[in-house]
Amino acid sequence: MNPLRRTFLKLTGAAGTLALVVGAGLLKTREALAATWNKTGFESKAVADALKSLGAASPAESKDIIITAPDIAENGAVVPIAVTSKIPNTQSISIIAEKNPFPLSSTYDLSNGGEAYVSTRLKLGETSNVRAVIKADGKFYTAAKEVKVTIGGCGG
């Protein structure tokens, strides 16, 4: 038996356990972050799953939600989107780009005088409906607007 080979095996074994421990530590911090971050929602690939993760499986269509977005976006990497809700007691706004690889783009929880308005810039992979989901008084409302994209904003 080659003693060198034995020590080599021992060493790699020890290194393996160490890697495992470090890996577990990393996983823990990830989970802590995910507790506040809607991981299932942001990682779901279907609009229905994204809605479910928000607790809004079947939101009601509403005309009191105004989505301000261009009809045609030349550059899908930067599409300005603004959502205003006239529904009283709006608690949160979520923006879903229906045809993106991961449709749920963002969720905004409002409190302490934050008005029912947000404005941001999204990446759109292709021409798609941009859907806003509003939570007000525990109920969900939705509205959508189509944005045509000439050059997609995903990949490169």
């Binding site: 963002s106 005088g113 990446k123």
Partner: protein, 106 residues
Amino acid sequence: MAEPMKIRATLQVDTADVRILMLHPMETGQRKDAKGDIVPMHFIQSVVVAHNGNTVLDAQWSQAISRNPFLGLRVKGAKTGDRISVTWTDNKGDKRTDEVAVAASS
């Protein structure tokens, strides 16, 4: 890494119009670099905006938000000189907080 944000808060009657520009690559994990390797995801996950220390907007973001993200919001009941602070956290644990005072409208 974390560059300072540009924040502007202007008062309009009793509402502060807040505009925030963050500098961040917001990598989606779908893009490939020149060598054909996938550029790993790197994006802001959480943005918290506070008015005089009270949270007014708690945003959760995915990688679908554009590079160098812009965020606009309105805060009711604000006065000139009120503090608006913004904190973002990305998926690598990087953080940045900046604060600005509400300015009178010009």
